[in-house]
């Protein structure tokens, strides 16, 4: 599977980027050359240099260390949203196909309703009203991205549900849960994985937007989005400040999208073969 993916040059680049991001997310706080919270009053708003590789922010904190330290939170936050979306989307998506009309109808309408909510505004409203914190924010985003997973799962499950081998299993006396286990789950997972990859990217970008607006993240904890926001605020003193966090966000989101595309393509080839 992975080997097949690696045939795409974009997938190779994506893997490389994601590997770096994964290392940052896991070891970032330990790799940081300075304490990300430590303030150096004698070095405010420094340009990149040998002591502070990416310079310092307005409080004299090492931007590079903050970037590293912020990786964990940023990545975990996206993963948290995606997990919530996965759980809330995939299970009903599967069941909506197999559990009868009424259940299906209700599910579809609820998902439609979720899709009708103005995305960021609703995330903000939810976060603010449930107590401003990253976990609340991610919970809100997770719920809002549920439809994406629901739809992917359901579309795939629908195409399987009408397959003759499902009917064959039923004719041999298989129960719905047996059918789900033996025939459906394994087939639904690949497209869900594709959706999860691209959604992780989307979440990263959404988290960045929320933190930019001051939602969800409480100082002094660094996140990529928060760093980008402060760097934009200090644009005059550090004209190239935003480049590093922006690049990190864009590269990660791009890598996840590219991976999703490659996954989709290779899946298509395989079924075509």
């Amino acid at each position: 599977m992975i080997r097949q993916l690696l045939r795409y040059p974009s997938a190779r680049a994506a893997f490389a980027i994601l590997a770096v991001v994964a290392v940052l997310a896991v070891f970032g706080p330990f790799l940081a050359p300075h304490d990300p919270l430590a303030q150096d009053g004698s070095a405010l708003l420094q340009p990149p240099g040998t002591r502070y590789w990416l310079g310092t922010d307005a409080l004299g904190r090492d931007v590079f260390s903050r970037l590293l330290a912020g990786s964990t939170v940023s990545v975990l936050a996206s993963l948290l949203s995606v997990s919530i979306g996965l759980v809330l989307g995939v299970v009903p998506g599967l069941l909506s196909v197999f559990l009868g009309r009424r259940f299906e109808w209700i599910n579809l309408r609820v998902i439609d309703a979720l899709m009708m909510l103005p995305f960021l505004v609703f995330a903000i409203a939810m976060t603010a009203m449930l107590g401003n914190g990253l976990v609340q924010a991610m919970f809100a985003v997770g719920i809002l991205i549920t439809p994406a997973f629901f739809r992917v799962t359901r579309a795939e499950a629908l195409s399987i549900a009408n397959a003759e081998y499902i009917e064959a299993a039923r004719l041999m006396g298989a129960s719905t849960s047996a059918i789900l286990r033996r025939h459906v789950v394994a087939k639904v997972l690949p497209p869900v994985a594709v959706a999860a990859a691209s959604m992780t990217g989307a979440c990263l970008s959404i988290v960045a937007s929320l933190t930019f607006l001051g939602i969800g993240v409480v100082p002094p904890d660094p996140t990529w989005g928060g760093l980008l926001a402060t760097d934009l605020a200090n644009l005059y003193d550090r004209p190239f400040g935003p480049v590093a966090p922006a690049l990190l966000i864009v590269a990660t989101v791009w890598a996840l999208n590219a991976l999703a595309d490659a996954l989709r393509d290779s899946g298509r080839k395989e079924t075509a073969a």
């Binding site: 303030q39 409080l59 005059y236």
Partner: protein, 488 residues
């Protein structure tokens, strides 16, 4: 017929000012000190301050205290009228203050506590009968307390006044969208209209601080306050930057009713833990001044005797904490902050407290009625909060706002140090031209600063950036005014 003709002139003499909107357009229900900047667009006050903070005539031509100091009489100018046509006479003034006394949601009441009753003496003379000696009232009347609103409008619909001001100020409102903008045109009937050269004033809310300068450069706004660290950038972009003395001061409010600050030693420790020099250097690009009392050092109410107290002394702070039984790192406090305060201040305070072994967590409470106002100013729920004052017209008023029993910035309220209250009464009873006035005032400041747990940090001047077409900014210590401002 406002602005119907003379559109060209209005277009030319238009100023767009990015500031914030008042909590209410009715002086009686306006709640914060900063409101005076905007309330004074629509309203004229009985008196006004000059650049040095001295009282000058305004709606009132003159005022006199009776020899026993128990009555105060204001002589109004002739032929004043509100923008709704109602004459602004002694009766109108009396009606306004009576409303301030009686209206249920009035925030004026504590400010005019010392006035027992109001009288008129002819159409142009208002007489205040005082319940106690209070020589501060002429100062107080320079702010929102003396910003007289139309009694006709108030009688018609008090609630509407909060959204649509009817005063006799330099401007008249023509459009208002709550939390967005308020547009004004010049009021030809303003008593000092000759000095108003701005034909149209468009007040908008403060933009995202990161784009304020871009907005000035691109001409979307003409006047805006900027942070001290943006001065250099503003100058580099060919904007005019005006700095002027202010009464601004930042503080870390401390609630002595909440643990761990119910132990005075902990509160005292915090005072020694703060390195004000570092705050000034890091946060204000050197434009600020350290202060340990609610006034900047240049102001006459500043107490020089207190100046050197609570100098940065982490060792002493640690010792105090140890005495109170808190080992380093064993104490965690929650600091409530809001997004409008100086960027970086909370984190810096957090770091400084950390150095003496106090761990802290920041919690954001947005400014607004159901959160900051009710939670911090009214319910006084937090143990500590970062805030600041913009000052008041009268130093006594100012001291009461930060230390008094009903002061919104006294987080320990309704507690107020008794000695401080006594000293305040003494100040009130002292005529402002009396030789002992200054000394008594400084003593009240000293007592407040000593006996209240809140920690004052630093003061920053007014910093206003303007496009070059706007000239002669008029900034008095507690507010920005528009008399004399010209537009090219």
């Amino acid at each position: 017929g406002c602005g119907g003709s003379g559109d060209k002139a209005a277009e030319k003499a238009r100023v767009r000012w990015a500031f914030m909107l008042p909590t209410s357009w009715d002086p009686v229900t306006s709640r914060t000190g900063a409101d005076i900047n905007t309330v004074s667009l629509a309203y004229a006050s009985l008196t006004r301050l000059d650049k040095d903070g001295n009282v000058q005539p305004a709606l009132a031509q003159s005022w006199t205290y009776s020899p026993d100091g128990r009555t105060l009489t204001f002589q109004l100018r002739d032929k004043l009228k509100f923008t709704d046509g109602t004459p602004l006479d002694a009766a109108a003034v009396k009606a306004f203050f009576e409303r301030g006394k009686t209206q249920k949601d009035s925030f004026l009441r504590p400010e005019i506590e010392s006035i027992a009753s109001f009288d008129t003496d002819g159409p142009l003379r208002v007489v205040f009968h005082l319940s106690r000696l209070d020589y501060q009232l002429p100062y107080v009347m320079a702010g929102r307390v003396g910003a007289i609103a139309s009694p006709t409008a108030a009688a018609k619909d008090k609630a509407k006044l909060a959204l649509w001001p009817i005063g006799a100020g330099p401007f008249k409102m023509v459009e208002f969208v709550p939390e967005s903008h308020a547009y004004f045109v010049k009021n030809p009937d303003y008593w000092d209209a000759a000095n108003i050269h701005v034909e149209r004033l468009e007040l908008t809310t403060l933009s995202e601080p990161t784009t304020t300068i871009a907005s000035l450069v691109s001409g979307a706004i003409d006047v805006a306050s900027i942070g001290p660290k943006r001065v250099e950038e503003a100058r580099a972009r060919k904007l005019t930057v005006t700095t002027a003395p202010s009464l601004n001061a930042s503080d870390l409010m401390i609630n002595r009713n909440k643990p761990p600050f119910d132990d005075p030693r902990v509160a005292e420790a915090v005072r020694y833990a703060i390195d004000r020099g570092e705050l000034v250097k890091t946060l204000t690009a050197g434009l600020g001044t350290p202060t340990n009392q609610p006034f900047p050092p240049h102001y006459f109410a500043f107490d020089p005797q207190t100046r050197d107290k609570w100098a940065y002394d982490p060792a002493r702070a640690k010792a105090l904490l140890a005495q109170a039984g808190h080992a380093p790192g064993s104490l965690t406090v929650e600091i409530v902050i809001n997004p409008l305060i100086n960027e970086g201040l909370p984190e810096l305070l957090q770091a400084q407290l950390g150095r003496v072994g106090i761990k802290s967590r920041l919690r954001i409470v947005p400014p607004g009625s159901s959160s900051w106002q009710s939670e911090v100013y009214i319910a006084k729920r937090p143990a500590t909060a970062v805030d600041g004052t913009v000052g008041r017209e009268s130093p006594v008023q100012n001291l009461l706002a930060v230390y008094g029993p009903q002061g919104i910035m006294n987080l320990s309220g309704p507690y107020a140090p008794p000695a401080f209250l006594k000293a305040i009464d003494e100040v009130r009873a002292t005529p402002i031209d009396a030789p002992q006035y200054k000394e008594r005032l400084q003593r009240a400041t000293r007592l407040g600063a000593e006996q209240s747990p809140s920690v004052w940090l630093f003061s920053t001047p007014f910093i206003v950036a303007t496009r070059s077409r706007v000239k002669h900014l008029n900034i008095v210590p507690s507010q920005i005014r528009w008399e004399g401002v010209t537009v090219e």
